[in-house]
Amino acid sequence: MAATPEPRATTPATGEPLLRAVNLTRHFRLGGLFSKSALHAVDDFNITIQEREIVALVGESGSGKSTVARLLARIYRPTRGEIFYRGRPVNRMRSRKDLLWYRGEVPIVLQDPFSAFHPVFRVSHGVMRNLALHRPELSHDERKHEAERACEAVGLSPKMLTRFPYEMSGGERQRIGFAQALAVGPKLILADEPVSMLDVSIRIGVLNMMAGLRDREGVSILYITHDLASARYVADRVVVMYAGHQVEAGPTETVLSDPKHPYTQLLMSAAADPREKEAEISADTGDPPRVIDPSEGCRFRWRCPLAIEKCALVTPHLKPIGSTLVACHVATGDTAAAPGAANPAGTANPAGTASVTNR
């Protein structure tokens, strides 16, 4: 498969991007030892994250967004593809020292505040272990000081560190999760659905805290979520995923106010604003995508109101339309039937093609 052009960050680049993933792919083998069947969780995923920015990775179940987080956190090894952190290839890092360095710079915060903490230890355990592993040059007292500082940076009193997980609410635990990540001085925090399991009234507090981390601590955040509204609230840029592929990427306001990909449009119309009363009823029943041994072609085509013949034959790649990137033959005007024919129609006028008007 041809490598897709890297999506350029649409915010003014401050030099080399902090993190760059190219053609990131992860397949999970299904069945026994000799089975050829595979689940394509992520295919040819590219992302660029700059310093001091929050990028939202939006998708539903089966989209592959959590897998992306785990690939970037090196919990999974990629089937294919490369990750570059500050220009250094992460996949080729072998020594424990290098790996520890990367893990200290790019920690992950997990989704479920109720199971992310060891039930037997106080919550300080994770923070102090993180410091012991990644800041070994500090003395014990200095580490304690760092732990307390991280605690305050997430809006909690340092006394919270001495509590057991079951003594804390979901929101407090999630903040400690961020404190754990923050204590080692990271540049990029991978946040895997950090507010999905929290009560609604508490989510805003955590989201505000995340924005604060970006502004005051200078940390970038990859915010993984299924909730477009919260993505709009905190993120500078949005990447929308479907069935292991990216379908649209760009600055938050642009993507959400004028979505070009039919899937993004579907999400926007389905996401209800509690203050809105009337709703369009779509015929889509929201069935999850098919990612087991998928064939070539757009994976959204079975649900897409605009699908044409080409969609079943050629996998669309991200192409720029204005300031966003869209992976859709129809949206980009790439409707020439012959696959492989180089089609420079990427800059076609979107209004001219049969795009679905935003409801």
């Binding site: 539903e60 179940s61 609410s169 979901g170 929101g171 407090e172 009560d199 609604v200 009234s201 508490i202 989510r203 805003i204 507090g205 989201l207 505000n208 299924h226 909730d227 477009l228 509204a229 919260s230 709009r232 609230y233 959400l256 106010s257 579907l266 999400l267 926007m268 389905a270 996401a271 209800a272 604003d273 509690p274 203050r275 809105e276 009363k277 009337e278 709703a279 009823i281 779509s282 889509d284 029943t285 929201g286 069935d287 999850p288």
Partner: protein
Amino acid sequence: MAEPLLEVDDLTVEYATDAGETRAVDGVSFTVGAGEFLGIVGESGCGKTTLLFAVAQLLSPPGEVVGGKVMFHGRDMVRLSGGELRSIRWRDYSIVMQSAMNALNPMKSIGAQFKDTLQAHGDASANDVRRRSTEVMSLVGIDPAHLQSYPHQLSGGMRQRAMIAMALLYTPQLVIMDEPTSALDVVAQQSLMSKIKELQRNLGFAVIFVTHDMSVVSRYSDRVLVMYAGQVAEAASTEAIFDRPLHPYTRGLMTAFPSLRGPRRELTGIPGSPPDLARPPSGCRFHPRCPDVMPACLEREPELYPVDGAEVRCLLYTERAEQARQTV
């Protein structure tokens, strides 16, 4: 005014824990009219699920109803015997649980489970079973061929629909639902909710819908009950709740939703977290988190006061409510 279908009066539920008795539901009263869609919203620990279990008579020790009544068809369900309950369960009211995978038997086909349900609650011949099963599957929009399928072969959305189909087997007058859409993605959620609403309009059953998601409630319910710390904080028509929220908690909830459209604003949510019901705060249970707290709030427990057609449990409204009572 028509006789309400369900009338819950001062219902109180306690759990016996190692730490003592905890009141999960404290003096909750509400009514549901025929064909009405009532949304019960609240966050974790508010008691909404316990309330639902109590109304549906599904509580088991250490939870126990210690006070109040649940009047359905003129009879107090709390005091009905097992046999009497069985005669009305599923025929007059039915339940849809939060996760179909918890309620459906993974070892049996959908059709077999429908058959079990039909035969458990009435005499149904094989023909009746087949006919009715096919009918309800079509009602919820699933190809009746899936009667042969096993739960794991269906997607999450379809499983929830199957649950709803099962709940409608005897066309009950009241369907109680516990967050049936929370495990689904947003597109499936919307699809399911609009189907539920369509069925409700066509078949005329009442719905009690428990959820933490205000957006679901805003689009589909007629009335809303907002619960906090085991009590009803506010009860009003959906329109009133969203356009004129009265209780500071409800107002706080309204501001806790980032919006997808319209201007981007900084939101604050509600500081603090829900109280531990084993040791609730003195006076009004919301006072530690309330932006409009007054000194009286720490001492007096507010009652549910009628205000402009709604009911609010907040001292801010006592003067108005008492005035209204006096002038009547």
